[in-house]
Symmetry: C2
Subunit: 258 residues, 2 copies
DNA sequence: TAGTGGTCTAGACCACCAT
DNA sequence: TGGTGGTCTAGACCACTAT
């Protein structure tokens, strides 16, 4: 086991280092239970809080998860879904009758559920307005908020913005938007998504997001700001996807200009 | 200060909630110093460790950063670089003589520096071998590790894998790979990057990554596994980019199939 | 030197879970 | 019921920063 002199001085780091070594060496496999905090403390001749601090460091790295009343466990790799640009494609829908989300859930043998949490007329946030090529004060939009579940486990929160003028009087104001979903209705209004742009950042979940997504500590989110551009290259829809990053990844394929 | 009944039970949550409210209301602006732990404790009639726990919760959300001996401060928004597929484009290089990284640093008025930390012949990890269409045991690769700095602040760690047969006897074994960099040399060997694929996840930094990137707690990383495909659609190079997520984002533009 | 965060101790009680 | 993590207390000393 390699010694890390800079990290090995403090009791909490020493304990964390020892446990981390057991995990990376495979002696503690994913799903295995760690020694209890009290036992670790005793073994290393430290106070319980010190062992607890060591566990906290490992939890922050995403290596372990604590379960109240049961113990601390080596975190198991989650099956990940890699979402790519095909999630906007209407081809899969035409061919299978399923949205990309439902199709992926079917592949994994999980039960999909989409909860529409709100449908409102709002002034959009600055970054959304900017991408719709408008200043917020002169723009009114429809905002639809959804939560996507797999087997009743929340996977992602999606917020969609559409100019109010484009949404008014259409099924977009209803929870059920009809066949082909939102993009189906927008096509009827003359908007065909020809180009998409995804702007991606990673960050820790906000207080409320952590709550909605039931995120354990040490799991960040992938925040994707999507803009749909029509056949004229004009933006007509903006969505923000917030994925829990231990379940979802992204993939993009692109040609290189020379 | 608004009361949040669900969060307001525990002293540490109450303190965190109160401070969070001050921040989101703008009464504590980015860069501002929070009351000291001892002062917070006294104000809320709690022990110092309890106030400390409240601060820890906020740090985990990425809202504040502690600076030893100085205080706890509301985290300032960092200027972000959005890396897109153009970072693989050789056009910018031809037109400006600068790599995309150096160009971006010039835009921001920062001093770029690239440190080559190792150049070795290795058996690649499984996921890399898979993307080079080979099983690890039968594959030998050149691995180049780089760290990219802006004003001596580490921004990203990049590890590049190239089949050993393609790298042997070329300047790819040297720290300085010559004009056009790695892709320049690979073109001379007959590989033109025609298609790129980026697979993206977000996660907390490993122990060692947190150290090399000098990451404060509450900052995740964006982990991009890039595959370069040549004019025949065959993979010839795989790179892993690990960005600190508070400084770097990604952007992809794509056409939609109908 | 005074004030700050960083770490540690040695207890205590509570909430949750399995048996 | 016993073991587990979750939280809290009331101290202590150390390391760093500013003045």
């Amino acid at each position: 086991m390699s010694q890390d002199p800079a990290q090995g001085q403090l009791p909490s780091r020493r304990i964390a280092h020892a446990v981390r070594a057991l995990i990376t060496a495979g002696e503690l496999a994913p799903g295995d239970k760690l020694p209890s905090e009290r036992e670790l403390a005793q073994r290393f001749g430290a106070a319980r809080n010190t062992a607890r601090e060591a566990i906290r460091l490992l939890a922050e790295e995403g290596l372990v998860t604590a379960r109240h009343g049961r113990g601390v466990f080596v975190r198991e790799k989650q099956r990940m879904v890699r979402w790519g640009s095909e999630r906007y494609s209407r081809r899969t829908y035409r061919e299978t009758g399923l949205t990309p989300f439902r199709l992926e859930m079917a592949r994994q043998g999980k039960t999909p559920r989409v909860e529409v949490t709100s449908i409102e007329q709002v002034t959009p946030p600055f970054d959304v307005a900017e991408r719709l090529k408008a200043s917020p004060e002169e723009l009114s939009t429809l905002r639809r908020c959804n939560i996507y579940y797999a087997d009743d486990e929340p996977l992602q929160v999606v917020t969609t913005y559409i100019r109010w003028a484009d949404a008014e009087g259409t099924p977009l104001l209803q929870p059920e938007t009809g066949p082909g979903g939102i993009y189906g209705r927008l096509e009827e209004r003359g908007y065909t998504m020809t180009t998409g742009r995804d702007e991606i950042i990673a960050r820790m979940a906000s207080h409320t997001e952590a709550h909605t997504l039931q995120l354990p500590p040490g799991v960040p989110v992938l925040d994707v700001l999507h803009t749909s551009l029509d056949q004229r290259g004009e933006p007509f829809e903006v969505s923000r996807f917030v994925h829990r990053a231990d379940r979802a990844g992204l993939v993009y394929t692109f040609s290189i200009e020379h």
